[in-house]
């Protein structure tokens, strides 16, 4: 039976269990004093869940362990004695044999694979049969056991509730475990990198040229300081120089000055900026802004004005970030109690005095939190810098010069031929980990600041 067929069969069994239990429960006579502790539907669901859950759990565990069992069985056959010792070749022969055995490929590169293929097919078939039988048995057993409990006084309702709770718990655990897994693999690869290159050299080295890594001293050309600087310069300095004033001012206009009608169309329009795909910003930066910035640089007499300048990438990134800043600022200004504003206006302050002296100071923590979140987004932003920033790492304060960023370098390191053991490739993971640590820290700080601020107005 195919895997899909098996799933359908199990689901069918569950459906039958649901129906039967419902029907049976429907025949219960209404007790004279107490109310039913569960309705027929609850009994149905109880039996259905008990039918469905055991085989599903079994199959999930099975699908993780079965391939190893199959391989073990194949290795036990006489033909396997001819396999080379563990290593790359052995693994590739085995995987070829598996594909052949499953009928997913026609011919094989190694002769041995063809010999092993039937053994694979046989072992696979045997274990599949076992799995099918076990799953069906579990479904029957679970369903039958549950069915015997369907009695008028059985609290199926609470049992179903528990089942639902477990399901929801599993769903949220999956998301959490995935995150943990991703971070763990990031850390694992980074540790491998830091075995080749000392952390100090990586974090504080000023020379970055991954194209010419000397395998005896990889740290010498993998100093990431210029990347960190470039990232900070583009994402936290130039982009914020654009996004903070513009975002803040538009938030003030929208919350304090704009009439409701104006606000109704202006706010969504502004927020639409956030919906523009970053790749669109990317080519806008590369094709329109970068040349213009270069010309401006040349015009004001900067000889080394690059066509991949930090300024171009930063400007466009700033535009992209405006809606984040403005909507965070908007929220925090709107969260300042109206009484505060009225109090100031009633003293004879003008609207702008009220904003400057009362609203903004009161909203400041929220605004700062919003800016930190925006920075964390900006330094993690990839598309714009991949398209518009340069690949050359320079430690410079000149916005017209070319600079590169962490994200851009990660992309460069991992595209093309990647060898997963070289210091060069592993450096991408170390960069990723550093970036992750910084954005995480920024987010945590921002959330703490914003939360503290919200509480002060509860």
């Amino acid at each position: 039976m195919s895997a899909l067929g098996l799933l359908f069969t199990v689901a069918g069994l569950a459906l039958i269990g649901w129906l039967v239990a419902r029907m049976r429960a429907a025949t219960f006579r209404r007790p004279r004093v107490a109310r039913f502790s569960a309705l027929p539907a609850h009994h149905g669901w109880f039996v259905g869940i008990c039918t469905l859950a055991p085989p599903l759990i079994f199959l999930a565990v099975w699908s993780a362990t079965a391939p190893a069992l199959v391989t073990d069985a194949v290795l036990a056959t006489p033909a396997a004695a001819m396999l080379p010792p563990p290593g790359f070749e052995r693994a590739s022969i085995l995987s070829e044999a598996r594909e052949l055995g499953a009928g997913r490929s026609q011919g094989a590169f190694h002769d041995l694979a063809e010999k092993l293929a039937p053994a694979y097919a046989r072992a696979q078939h045997r274990y599949d049969t076992i799995a099918t039988a076990a799953a069906l048995l579990l479904a029957f057993a679970g369903g039958a056991l549950a069915f015997t409990r369907v009695r008028p006084d059985f609290a199926a309702r609470t049992q179903v509730e528990r089942g639902v709770m477990l399901m929801l718990l599993v769903a949220s655990l999956i998301a959490i475990l995935t995150t943990v897994g991703i971070v763990a693999s990031l850390i694992y690869e980074s540790v491998r990198f830091f075995r080749l290159v000392p952390a100090g050299e990586f974090l504080f080295g000023t020379h970055w040229s991954p194209q010419v890594v000397d395998s005896r001293d990889p740290g010498a050309s993998l100093g990431a300081l210029p990347l960190f600087w470039g990232t900070f310069f583009i994402g936290a300095v130039i982009a914020m120089a654009v996004a903070v004033p513009l975002g803040l001012m538009s938030a003030i206009y929208l919350t304090q000055y704009a009439r409701p009608v104006t606000r109704r169309w202006m706010k969504p329009t502004l927020e639409m900026l956030a919906g523009v795909p970053t790749v669109v910003y990317g080519y806008f930066a590369a094709l329109t802004v970068a040349p213009a910035v270069r010309e401006l640089g040349v015009a004001i007499g900067i000889r080394w004005a690059s066509s991949e300048s930090a300024l171009a990438a930063g400007l466009v990134m700033g535009i992209m970030i405006i809606p984040f800043v403005s909507s965070m600022a908007d929220d925090s200004i709107a969260a300042v109690p109206a009484a505060m504003r009225d109090g100031s206006l009633a003293m004879g302050a003008t609207t702008s005095e009220t904003i400057r002296k009362v609203m903004l100071p009161a909203a400041l923590p929220g605004v700062v939190g919003g800016i930190l979140l925006a920075v964390s987004r900006a330094i993690g932003e990839t598309m714009i810098v991949v398209m518009a920033a340069s690949g050359v790492a320079t430690l410079t304060l000149n916005p017209f010069a070319s600079t590169t960023t962490v994200t851009k370098q990660i992309v460069d390191l991992l595209t093309g031929e990647a060898e997963f053991t070289s210091a060069k490739t592993l450096a991408a993971f170390a960069l990723g980990l550093t970036l992750f640590a910084v954005t995480l820290a920024l987010n945590v700080v921002a959330l703490v600041v914003v939360k503290r601020y919200r509480e002060s107005y509860e």
Binding site: R259, P260, P337, A339, M340, R341, D342, G343, S344, L345, A346, M347, G348, A349, T350, E353, K357, V358, P361, A362, S456
Partner: protein, 254 residues
């Protein structure tokens, strides 16, 4: 009374969009009187109070008809400077709303924005005088740099009164200034109103009949946006002319 009234409202109607919240109200507030506004919830007391310093301007849908004169000057005239008007007609709100600044800065706020103090010493003196008048000085004189929001509710409300009188207004509007306070803090505010009487014209909205009787010389009873009766407080409470007033103050409805 020989003085002309401080505030004269002539035929004032207020609309929120199309709904009428105040219906042709005329009332005079004398120079040195305390006037209480009473009436059931939603009858328009706050709305009318807020027309007197044009705080209704901040409500986009609000529109005011009729005439309100302050010392004979139409405050809704096109050339009226709202900033100056609000400095002359101060306001204290239902919920204490000190700014999230120090106690000192709260009181200094008005003098600063209106440029009343030439030097720091002047400002210090204004702050002290206002806090003294508000009966708060002794409680806060050692912690002027603490945040105004860290005070108790009653202290906060007196701070707001100090803030309002720091710019030397001629009229003080109070919208249920004690409704968020306990009886002791309420008594302090009432005592304060007694002391401020004579120096400022005071209009106070209250739901508390005893309070109206205690602090005011004149009482206005509003009902459904109309001014039902406006008379000396003693008359309103002992011998009201209108049936509706009697029903309200005896607690038969509202």
């Amino acid at each position: 009374m020989t003085f002309p009234p401080k505030i004269q409202a002539r035929d004032v109607s207020v609309f929120y969009g199309d709904t009428r919240a105040i219906d042709h109200v005329s009332i005079d507030v004398a120079q040195d009187n305390v006037v209480a506004f009473i009436g059931p919830s939603g009858c328009g007391k706050s709305t009318f109070l807020r027309t007197l310093n044009r705080m209704n301007d901040t409500v986009a849908s609000a529109r005011v008809d009729g005439q309100i004169l302050l010392d004979g000057e139409d405050i809704y005239a096109p050339d009226m400077d709202v900033v100056q008007l609000r400095a002359r007609v101060g306001m204290v709100f239902q919920k204490p709303n000190p700014f999230p600044k120090s106690i000192y800065e709260n009181v200094a706020y008005g003098p600063r924005i209106h440029g009343l103090a030439a030097a720091r010493a002047d400002l210090d003196e204004m702050v002290e005088r206002s806090l003294r008048r508000a009966g708060l000085w002794d409680e806060v004189k050692d912690r002027l740099d603490d945040s105004g929001t860290a005070l108790s509710g009653g202290q906060q409300q007196r701070l707001c009164i100090a803030r309002a009188i720091a710019v030397d207004p001629e009229v003080i509007l109070m919208d249920e200034p004690c409704s968020a306070l306990d009886p002791i803090a309420t008594a302090k505010i009432e005592e304060l109103i007694h002391e401020l009487k004579g120096r400022y014209a005071i209009v106070i909205v209250t739901h508390n009949m005893q309070q109206a009787a205690r602090v005011s010389q004149q009482t206005a009873f509003f009902h459904l946006g109309q001014l039902v009766e406006f008379a000396p407080t003693s008359d309103i409470f002992t011998n009201p002319r209108e049936e509706r007033t009697r029903d309200y103050i005896t607690g038969r409805y509202g």
